[in-house]
């Protein structure tokens, strides 16, 4: 009691002295001397009669209050403040001093919490700072640049319709990268949704980012969530979930587990300024404080919650001030100053881990980008404002100035970095677009640890529907391998990475026909694709079955390497892979069985002349479309006319496109950045864009296509089946 009294008196004197000197002195001025005070001290401090109350307010409040509480304050008229101050009520939670002054602590402070920074606007150090050495600084800068470029690429990819959604970190790159740099890799990240820079720092590859955004079968999240909902257990980055602030109480629980395990690690939970209004913000901070969980709460105050400015979000002095109410040490940091964020997070981490308690860090960095690709922020804020932040306060530029001043970075390195990142991203996007979607089974797994009977039943029902109406469903999920685990088999030698089969190819018999027809009709694609992609890099398999050239002088007309080897008609050039599953075996059998039949049907002497025409035309087409050498192949796809009644033999239809999204997507077959979309007025029910590409080629293929189609239509082998040609871009 005595020591408490002395301390509080001292503090009060200090505050009073300050107040006299500065009329706007605030609560914090007193407590800042004990920035991370322990609860015992804090409980003693909090209820002090603050001399900082705006005198006008207190007068009004006193007037208002005297009447209502006059009785209980009967003795306050003549009480001696100082004497009464020494008395205290011993209440659960700690002693509370009495006062006879009717004063409310102020709801707002005249002077706002200052913002910690290390670098000035020109990238020059304001204090002596040597926490960040050259190697670290260069990595930080490189990752910030990578993050920026990645954001640009994926943002554009969304605009082109390749992915459904994206959110950039523009303006907040430093928060992402610097906090990641300041943490240990054992620290668990509970992200909001604008923290992918941390994953980048921890080694999540650009390919992995692309996989998630495109939702292909390599996405560890199995294509179940919208783009940017990253998660990686390997990188201690808990999967993003869209609801705001739900991760905060969870972070408290996770950190409690770390505490129980006595781990040298903490949990770092991120949130935006808007999220602080959620009940879970309160729950998270309060639980962490009460349970003494080692959590760093990082609030990225970027000024906007979608379109709601912070002035319409809360009336407090930002977010840092809220920590104090929960008994959590808090700090406000300049989020555009990479060094300040780094040192603040590092200090916060030390405190959280060593003292086993939560810490709150508020970073200020304007959201330069839109909230997401679904948002146009110019509707609610001025372009000038955005531009000003973008140009004057860009965290990446500021950090670059600093490392350049140190002589750690040059223009040449900048150029190299940017071009290398761009290349990696182009490659990542190209690769990911070629990958198939996750198999349909993944729709039903992971709801529970094991699928219960209702899910088993529903999967069975769904598969029956798919078999009945294959054209209703996206082919890139089903594909011929939907019923097998053959993985990417069809892509390897029949289809280019950017294309998968139309929706119908789920049944084995279709697959078989597809195989036989494509091999039969399209030696060009198979051979070229095969020769360029596989044989060139691998020795010819010993068991390759050599087949004599087809009759009627094919050899004579063999040109342009179209028939570069003799195996074009046989399935045997494909290496025997033990992983080939039953559908493939079925296909092979069908292929071999139909081989002789087809030979009889097609007068092969017409092929070479056609192909010779075609290849030159293809080359012309290629150059006109801006495709590079070796990017073209075509496959012939058999189709059942009745299954796609709106398709003519050339894949043309007068119907308007019914799947604009798909259309857009398929239009960008030739790599990033895409060609302008040029669609002829054709569409198909299942794949408008592919049909249009087909049309682009059909002029040069028509004679052949017509010939094949007519032959097959009239044949007894494929009665009623039509062969469609479709052209695709390779590489």
């Amino acid at each position: 009691m005595a020591s408490w009294g002395r301390r509080s008196t001292a503090v009060a004197h200090h505050v009073r002295a300050f107040f006299t000197a500065n009329k706007t002195a605030q609560i914090r001025i007193g407590t800042r001397r004990y920035p991370f005070f322990n609860p015992a001290v804090s409980s003693a401090l909090v209820p002090r009669p603050w001399p900082c109350i705006n005198s006008m307010t207190s007068l009004i409040l006193v007037d208002h209050f005297t009447s209502s509480v006059a009785g209980s304050q009967a003795d306050s008229r003549h009480a001696d403040d100082d004497k009464d101050d020494d008395l205290a009520i011993d209440f659960p939670g700690g002693k509370v001093a009495y006062t006879t002054k009717l004063r409310f602590i102020s709801g707002s402070s005249g002077k706002r919490i200052p913002c910690y920074r290390v670098l000035d606007d020109n990238g020059e150090l304001l204090i002596n700072f040597n926490e960040v050495k050259k190697e670290l600084a260069v990595k930080m800068y490189s990752d910030m640049v990578t993050l920026q470029i990645m954001d640009t690429f994926f943002y554009e990819a969304q605009r082109q319709g390749r992915i459904s959604f994206y959110m950039t970190s523009s303006g907040e790159e430093a928060i992402n990268i610097s906090s990641a740099a300041a943490l240990s890799k054992d620290d668990i990240i509970m992200p909001q949704y604008r923290e992918h820079g941390i994953l980048l720092w921890r080694g999540f590859t650009l390919q992995e980012f692309a996989n998630q955004c495109f939702g292909n079968r390599d996405d560890v999240g199995k294509g179940r969530q919208m783009p940017i909902h990253y998660g990686s257990s390997k990188h201690n980055f808990v999967t993003v979930s869209s609801p705001i602030a739900t991760q905060l109480p969870q972070a408290a629980g996770m950190a409690y587990s770390l505490k129980m395990d006595k781990k040298d690690a903490c949990v770092v939970a991120f949130i935006g300024d808007g999220g602080t209004s959620e009940g879970d913000f309160h729950a998270g901070l309060n639980f962490a404080a009460v349970m003494e969980s080692p959590v760093i709460f990082v609030c990225r105050n970027n000024g906007w919650a979608i379109s709601t400015p912070i002035s319409e979000q809360f009336r407090s002095d930002g977010v840092a001030v809220k920590g104090q109410a929960y008994g959590i040490p808090s700090i406000r940091v300049d989020g555009t100053d990479a060094l300040a964020v780094y040192s603040a997070i590092r200090a916060a981490r030390n405190m959280a881990v060593n003292e086993q308690r939560p810490v709150l860090v508020e970073t200020l960095a304007y959201r330069v980008g839109h909230h997401s690709t679904s948002d146009d922020s110019t509707k609610y804020r001025s372009l000038d404002e955005i531009e000003q932040w973008k140009t004057d306060r860009d965290p990446v530029n500021r950090f670059r100035k600093w490392i350049e001043l140190n002589g750690w970075w040059s223009e040449r390195e900048e150029t190299e970095l940017r071009s290398s990142v761009k290349k990696q991203l182009m490659k990542a996007i190209q690769v990911t677009e070629g990958r198939k979607k996750p198999p349909l089974t993944e729709l039903f797994t992971d709801v529970y640890d094991l699928p219960p009977s209702n899910l088993v039943e529903q999967e069975k029902q769904l598969r029956e529907t798919i078999n009945k109406y294959p054209m209703d469903f996206p082919s890139d999920v089903l594909g011929p391998a939907a019923c097998t685990d053959d993985g990417d088999w069809p892509h390897h030698f029949l289809l280019p990475p950017s294309l998968s089969l139309p929706y119908g190819w789920v049944r084995d018999r279709f697959l078989a026909r597809f195989l036989s027809l494509s091999l039969m009709v399209v030696p060009y694609s198979v051979e070229r694709a095969w020769c360029s992609r596989r044989i060139r890099h691998r020795p010819e398999p010993a068991n390759a079955r050599k087949i004599a050239a087809p009759p009627s002088g094919l050899g004579v007309h063999r040109r342009e390497g179209c028939f570069g080897c003799n195996r074009w008609f046989s399935p045997s050039p494909f290496p025997r892979r033990s992983s080939f599953g039953s559908p493939v075996r079925v296909a092979r059998k069908a292929l071999i069985a139909s081989e002789q039949e087809v030979r009889k049907l097609l007068p092969w002497h017409r092929l070479p002349s056609f192909l010779s025409t075609t290849s030159s035309q293809l080359r012309r087409w290629r150059s006109r479309e801006g495709l590079c050498e070796g990017t073209l192949a075509f496959v012939a796809v058999p189709s059942v006319v009745s299954a796609f009644p709106d398709l003519g033999s050339h894949g043309e239809s007068t119907r308007p496109p019914s799947f604009p999204k798909w259309t857009h997507r398929w239009s960008t077959l030739n790599g990033f950045p895409s060609l302008p979309v040029k669609f002829p007025a054709v569409c198909s029910r299942y794949d408008y864009a592919r049909a249009s590409v087909f049309k682009a080629l059909s002029f040069c293929l028509n004679p052949f296509v017509d010939f094949v189609v007519q032959t097959l239509r009239s044949s007894s082998v494929f009665p009623g089946h039509v062969c469609l040609c479709t052209c695709v871009a390779l590489d």
Partner: protein, 358 residues
């Protein structure tokens, strides 16, 4: 199946309940030899003791659990296992469940208590959007399967709006969680241990009316009862009655009354509401050709509707009468009018007769 010592009428007499009652599970003599007569809260308490004892990574927490809980279910846990593993939390349901999810995501068994099921709604977001989707949304990289949320539910005779609700149907619409409701002490212990050890988040509703009222021989040892397995607790041939939790005792009384009129009722305890055991119910309805579902929650949108639809889908041609539902009224749970609101024995009995004589 042995159904013994059904004493007392829960509804219809103003005082509430009388004496011992039990809805026991058939068990072997060996188990019964080591069994001890106990009420439902003690069985829960014993299960929690076992859970904490057998798994050092198990935690029990919630509002007021430290001193034993307002229903005494957590009595003695804090003393035995320490304040670090059994602790009070701030009064904040979304915080409790969120905290539990985080704890479970780190490989712990988080046993969270919501003081009354009526107060679980602030945690609805955490349960529906977070716990239920934690595994799925991460592609099975993360899961919070160790989470079990215990909450006392249902009428208690004087609970009014906010101490009587049966919110199970809300959670039955959420893929990714399991919903389990025991009917008796022996069931409660075995099912709770199963829920705690199940690798999926579970919401475990405890019939609070039975906490002290239901007394049964409960085996002392550590045992688990399977989830998603319904149990035929009374064989019959004329009509199938489906229910869960405290309502089963009412239905059981109705069955006994009906038997006097020569109606043979088959009574099924669903135990796990999702994912539920359709097959057992279906098999029974195929046998009897009639079905009645009864629950305390309001009839509209209750889980009875789901059972009804599923049975009609599967047994349409076998049904000899429309599916009957005897449930709570579509009003907020009332205080003074509670006896009128409840799906009482005679309401059930009438429905049985009407269905059989349809």
């Amino acid at each position: 199946m042995a159904l013994r010592n059904i004493i007392g009428k829960r509804i219809g007499n103003g005082i509430g309940l009388v004496g011992r009652r039990s809805l026991s599970t058939a068990t072997s003599d060996v188990e019964n030899r080591n069994a001890k007569s106990m009420n439902l809260y003690s069985a829960i308490n014993q299960a929690l003791h076992l859970a904490l004892e057998t798994d050092p990574r198990a935690f029990v927490f919630g509002e007021d659990v430290s001193f034993g809980g307002v229903f005494r279910c957590t009595t003695g846990l804090a003393d035995r296992f320490g304040k670090a593993r059994v602790f009070n939390t701030p009064l904040c349901e979304q915080g409790i469940v969120g905290f539990g999810i985080g704890l479970a995501a780190m490989g712990n068994r988080a046993i969270a208590e919501i003081q009354f099921a009526d107060y679980i709604y602030p945690a609805f977001d955490q349960i529906v959007n977070e716990a239920a989707k934690f595994r799925y949304r991460s592609g099975n990289q993360f899961n919070c399967g160790g989470l079990t949320i215990r909450a006392p539910y249902g009428a208690v005779g004087h609970g009014g709006h906010y101490h009587s609700q049966s919110p199970e149907a809300f959670f039955c619409h959420v893929p990714g969680i399991k919903v389990v409701i025991p009917r008796s002490p022996r069931q409660a212990k075995g099912l709770l241990l199963s829920c705690i050890r199940d690798p999926n988040p579970v919401v475990f509703f405890e019939p609070k009316w039975l906490y002290r009222l239901a007394v049964e021989e409960v085996p002392e040892h550590d045992y688990m009862l399977p989830l998603s397995k319904a149990e035929v607790i009374r064989q019959g041939s004329d009509i199938t009655l489906v229910g869960w939790g405290a309502q089963l005792s009412i239905m059981e009384q109705a069955c006994i009354e009906a038997e006097k009129d020569g109606i043979s009722c088959e009574l099924i305890d669903l135990k796990t509401l999702i994912p539920w055991d359709k097959e057992t119910v279906e098999a029974s309805v195929r046998k009897t050709g009639r079905v009645l579902i009864s629950h305390e929650a309001p009839v509209t949108g209750g889980f009875g509707a789901e059972i009804s639809a599923s049975i009609v889908e599967r047994c349409f041609l076998r049904l000899e009468a429309p599916v009957a539902r005897v449930c709570g009224l579509d009003t907020p749970f009332p205080l003074v009018f509670e006896p009128f609101y409840m799906p009482s024995k005679n309401k059930v009995l009438d429905a049985i007769k009407a269905t059989v004589n349809y």
